[in-house]
C-alpha cells in the first residue's frame, strides 16, 4: 500500500505532466488496483512472463480498446442525448463532429477514429467554394491537433477523388501537424492517378498520408465498411475492437527446442493461452462493465456485435532468426529466402489458428489477426513482422520479402519503407512503388522520406525539429514548459512529453 501511495503521489506531483495527463495516469493506477479479470494459472503465468501481453490495457476493461462510430448517423439525425439537431450546413456538420469526438472512448480516452471525412462532409459542400472549403478544413485541422493531441487519432479519405479529400491533402501538407494521422483509401478502379499523385507529393512533404489497399480491405469486411484507425488497425465501422492482445513470437521461439517443437507444441500452446486471455477481457467488457448501456448504442453510432478482438503478434524477425539458429541455418529474416519462407509459414499457421477458434462476443465469432507495431518498452523485439530497423533492404526488395505475410493480417499490418531524399525530385517513384506493393498484395503502403522533419516512429509521427529545439535548449532551460514524461525511443531523450504524442505507446505512468 505504501508503494501505491508513493506512486500516486509521484504522479500528482510530477513536474512534467499536465493536470489532464495526471488525471489520466491516476485513473489507470486506480483501475489497476482492482483484481484482474479471471485468468487460469497457466494463462496468468504466460502473461506475467510477457510471452503473451495485454498491452497494459488495464485490469477492468470498461471500454473497448478502439471505437469506430458510424458518424454518418449523427450527421443525418443529430443526437437526442447530446441535444444536437441534424446539421444542415458545412459549419454545422464540422461542429457536430467536433462535439461527437469528445464522446468517443478509446483505450487512451482520445478517439482513434474521426471518420471518412470526405464522405461525411461532401454532402454539405454543394454551396461552398473551394477557397471557403480550404479555410474551414484548415481551422478544423488546427482544432484537431490542438485539442485531441494524439498521433493515433486517425482520419480517412478516399477512395474517390473529390473536393474535400483534395482540400484535406492541401491543408495537411501545408500545416505538417502530427495529428491527425491520415490514410488515403486507394482503389485503382475508382481513385485515378491524379489524387494518387497528390498523395505522393504529400508523402514527400510530410510522410503522410498512409495509402490503404482499398479493394483488399473492403473484401475482408462487410457492406458497412471498415475504418483505418490508430497506428494501423483495420476494423469494422459502427464497431471496433474490444481488446488487443499479442504474442511475443521471439519468446515462443526461445522456448522451443527447434522448428518442429515450435510448430507442434510451443506456438499452439501460447496461441491457446492468448485466446483465453482475450476471451477473459471480452467477457469483462460485455458481461460486467455495462459499457454497452450507452447512448452510443441507443442512437446506433455503434453496435455491440460489431466489435472484434485483435489478435496481435510481434517480433517475427527475432523469432525466425532464433529458429534459424536452432536449426543451424545462417540465413537471416528479410534477406534469405529460406528464412523469409519460415516467417510466411508462421503467419499462415497463425491465420489458420485465429480463423478456427471461436470467441464469444466477437464480430463474426472470431478474432482478427494483427501485425502489432510495438510498445515503448519493447526491447530487441521488432514490431509485427517487420525487418529490424536500420537493416532494411531497398524498398522493392523490402516489399518482396514481406508481401506474402499481408494476406493473413486482416486487422492491420504495416511496414515503413524508407526512401532517400532524392525522391523530392521524383515523387512519381512513390506512386510506382505503391502500385508495385499493392500488386504484390500489400494491404497498406507507408513511406518515410529520410530527413523529413515529420517522421514516423513505429507508426506515429514525431517532429525532428521539436527534438532539436529541446537539445539546443538543454542546460539553459529546464522545466519551463511542462509537456510530459517520455515518448518512444526517439523522444525518450526529451524527458518530457511533446504536446502531441501517441498515448497508446505509454500504457501507464513511468518513474
Amino acid at each position: 500500500m505504501q508503494d501505491t501511495i508513493q506512486k500516486l503521489r509521484s504522479i500528482a506531483n510530477d513536474a512534467t505532466l499536465s493536470p489532464a495527463q495526471k488525471r489520466h495516469y491516476l485513473s489507470l493506477e486506480a483501475e489497476n488496483m482492482l483484481p484482474y479479470p479471471t485468468l487460469d494459472t497457466e494463462t496468468q503465468e504466460a502473461l506475467d512472463q510477457r510471452v503473451i501481453c495485454d498491452m497494459y490495457e488495464g485490469h477492468a476493461p470498461y471500454k473497448p480498446r478502439y471505437v469506430l462510430p458510424d458518424y454518418s448517423i449523427v450527421l443525418a439525425q443529430g443526437s437526442e442525448y447530446l441535444e444536437l439537431p441534424a446539421p444542415k450546413t458545412l459549419d454545422e456538420a464540422i461542429n457536430t463532429l467536433m462535439i461527437a469526438y469528445h464522446h468517443v472512448p478509446s483505450v487512451t480516452g482520445i478517439p482513434v477514429y474521426i471518420g471518412p471525412l470526405d464522405q461525411l462532409l461532401l454532402p454539405f459542400c454543394d454551396d461552398v467554394s473551394d477557397e471557403d472549403l480550404y479555410e474551414k478544413i484548415k481551422l478544423f485541422w488546427r482544432y484537431l491537433d490542438r485539442t485531441l493531441p494524439d498521433a493515433f487519432m486517425h482520419a480517412n479519405i478516399g477512395p474517390t477523388d473529390n473536393r474535400v479529400a483534395r482540400a484535406i491533402l492541401r491543408v495537411d501538407a501545408e500545416l505538417k501537424q502530427i495529428a491527425p494521422n491520415l490514410t488515403f483509401l486507394y482503389d485503382p478502379q475508382v481513385s485515378g492517378d491524379e489524387i494518387l499523385a497528390i498523395a505522393s507529393n504529400n508523402i514527400v512533404e510530410c510522410c503522410k498520408p498512409h495509402i490503404a489497399n482499398h479493394p483488399v480491405h473492403a473484401a475482408a469486411f462487410d457492406e458497412r465498411g471498415y475504418g483505418i484507425v490508430s497506428c494501423y488497425n483495420v476494423l469494422p465501422i459502427a464497431g471496433g475492437a474490444s481488446t488487443l492482445t499479442r504474442i511475443n513470437l521471439k519468446e515462443v521461439a526461445l522456448r522451443s527446442s527447434g522448428e518442429d517443437d515450435f510448430f507442434a507444441h510451443q506456438l499452439p500452446r501460447y496461441l491457446d493461452l492468448n485466446f483465453r486471455l482475450t476471451q477473459s477481457r471480452i467477457d469483462y467488457l460485455f458481461n460486467e462493465s455495462n459499457f454497452f448501456h450507452s447512448f452510443l448504442v441507443e442512437e446506433r453510432w455503434i453496435e455491440a456485435d460489431r466489435f472484434t478482438a485483435m489478435f496481435g503478434v510481434f517480433a517475427m524477425a527475432e523469432a525466425v532468426n532464433a529458429l534459424q539458429e536452432k536449426e543451424a541455418r545462417a540465413g537471416r529474416y528479410g534477406f534469405d529466402e529460406e528464412a523469409n519462407a519460415l516467417g510466411h509459414r508462421i503467419s499462415a499457421v497463425l491465420a489458420e489458428a485465429v480463423d478456427s477458434r471461436p470467441l464469444n462476443n466477437a464480430w463474426r465469432g472470431r478474432a482478427l489477426l494483427h501485425s502489432q507495431a510495438g510498445l515503448s518498452d519493447d526491447v530487441e523485439a521488432t514490431p509485427g513482422v517487420r525487418i529490424p530497423y536500420g537493416t532494411e533492404p531497398d524498398p522493392v526488395t523490402h516489399v518482396e520479402a514481406l508481401s506474402p505475410h499481408h494476406q493473413y493480417y486482416l486487422s492491420g499490418i504495416s511496414e515503413i519503407l524508407t526512401v532517400d531524399e532524392s525522391v523530392r525530385n521524383n515523387p512519381e517513384a512513390i506512386q510506382q512503388l505503391c502500385k508495385g506493393a499493392f500488386a504484390r498484395g500489400f494491404r497498406e503502403f507507408t513511406v518515410n522520406v529520410a530527413s523529413n522533419d515529420l517522421v514516423r516512429v513505429t507508426g506515429y509521427m514525431v517532429r525532428l525539429s521539436d527534438i532539436r529545439k529541446f537539445n539546443e535548449q538543454q542546460g539553459s532551460r529546464t522545466n519551463t514548459t511542462v509537456l510530459g514524461a517520455e515518448a518512444a525511443d526517439v523522444t525518450g531523450i526529451l524527458d518530457r512529453k511533446p504536446r502531441v504524442v501517441g498515448n497508446e505507446l505509454y500504457p501507464g505512468h513511468s518513474q
Binding site: D394, V396, V419, D420, V423, N426, Q432, L433, A439
Partner: protein, 288 residues
C-alpha cells in the same frame, strides 16, 4: 531472338534518380570519355584480361581460364578490392546479358517499374544491344508501357541516334563543359558531338533532361553558366535542366583533390539560370 549480348557492370531494380519514377537501370560497361571526376570510374574501361586483379581477391572469386578472366559471383563478397587495383578502370565482375535475360528481370519486377534506363559507362557504345532491348520491350505486351530512357554523354552521331530514337522515350544528356579546352581537360574529348546531340535530340522531342555537372573552379564560372544559359535558350527555355554537384563519393585519383560543390554554390547557379528565364531547373536533393 538475336544473340546480341551486352557487357553489364550492374543492374538495379530500384532507382529513383535515373529518370521519372522507379526504374530498372542497366549500367553498361565501357566509356568513350575519360572523366577525372567520374563517380563510377570502374565502368570506364573494358577488361583486357591482364590478371592483375586476381591476387587482390581475398575469396578467390577471380581466375584466368583460357586467357580470360573468370568471375564466380557466388564466391564474391563485393569488397571491390579488384576495382581498386585495375590499371585501366575496368571491372572484372562484369557479366554478359542477353536481351531475353534483361526482359526476364523487367517482367519479374514489372509492377514496381515506371521504366527502364540504360546508363553506364557510355551505353551508346553498345547501341545495337540498346536498340534490340528497347524494341523487344516495346513489342512485349506486358512491358510495352515501360518508358525506355538512355543516360548518355552525347558522343554519338545523328545517324546513330536516328536508329535508336524510334524505340526511345527520352534521353538524359550530359554536357560536361561549354568552353572546349575545359571540356577536353575534363573528359579527354571535344564537346562538339555532345552539343550537336543535344540539339538533335531536342528537335526530335526526345531530350528529357540536359545535365550539367558543376565542378568548382572549372565549370561553375559566370562564363560557363552564361554559355549554359545561352545553349538552353537556343534549345528552348522550357528545357529541363538538372544541375549536378561534383562530390567525392566514388571518385578516384586526382579529382579527389578538387573542391566539392556546395549546396549554396548550386543554388547560386540555379538562381542565375532562373533569373535568365529558364524555369525548369532541378538541383540535387542529397549532397554526399
Amino acid at each position: 531472338m538475336s544473340s546480341t549480348r551486352a557487357t553489364v557492370s550492374k543492374i538495379l531494380t530500384y532507382s529513383i534518380v535515373d529518370g521519372p519514377g522507379n526504374r530498372l537501370v542497366i549500367f553498361l560497361q565501357g566509356c568513350n570519355f575519360l572523366c577525372a571526376c567520374c563517380h563510377n570510374p570502374h565502368t570506364i574501361g573494358e577488361c583486357n584480361h591482364c590478371g592483375d586483379c586476381i591476387p587482390a581477391c581475398h575469396v578467390d572469386a577471380l581466375s584466368l581460364v583460357d586467357g580470360r578472366i573468370a568471375y564466380d559471383p557466388l564466391a564474391c563478397d563485393h569488397c571491390d578490392a579488384c576495382l581498386e587495383v585495375c590499371p585501366i578502370s575496368a571491372n572484372p565482375m562484369v557479366r554478359e546479358y542477353s536481351v531475353a535475360e534483361i526482359l526476364e528481370q523487367a517482367r519479374e519486377h514489372r509492377p514496381f517499374l515506371t521504366g527502364v534506363t540504360v546508363s553506364g559507362g557510355e551505353p551508346t557504345k553498345q547501341l545495337d544491344f540498346i536498340i534490340e532491348l528497347f524494341r523487344a520491350i516495346k513489342s512485349d505486351k506486358e512491358l510495352a508501357e515501360l518508358s525506355c530512357f538512355i543516360d548518355s554523354n552525347g558522343h554519338l552521331g545523328a545517324s546513330a541516334w536516328e536508329n535508336v530514337l524510334p524505340v526511345t522515350d527520352g534521353v538524359m544528356l550530359d554536357i560536361k563543359g561549354f568552353d572546349n579546352p575545359t571540356h577536353q581537360a575534363l573528359t579527354g574529348m571535344q564537346n562538339v558531338k555532345s552539343m550537336e546531340s543535344a540539339r538533335f535530340l531536342h528537335a526530335a522531342g526526345k531530350l528529357y533532361e540536359l545535365r550539367f555537372l558543376l565542378v568548382p573552379g572549372k565549370t561553375d564560372s559566370d562564363a560557363e553558366l552564361d554559355s549554359l544559359i545561352g545553349f538552353v535558350k537556343e534549345l528552348g527555355a522550357d528545357t529541363r535542366v538538372k544541375l549536378n554537384a561534383f562530390q567525392h563519393h566514388g571518385v578516384k585519383g586526382e579529382a579527389l583533390g578538387w573542391e566539392k560543390m556546395t549546396e549554396a554554390g548550386v543554388d547560386r547557379a540555379a538562381e542565375r539560370l532562373r533569373a535568365a528565364g529558364i524555369d525548369n531547373v532541378a538541383t540535387p536533393a542529397v549532397y554526399l
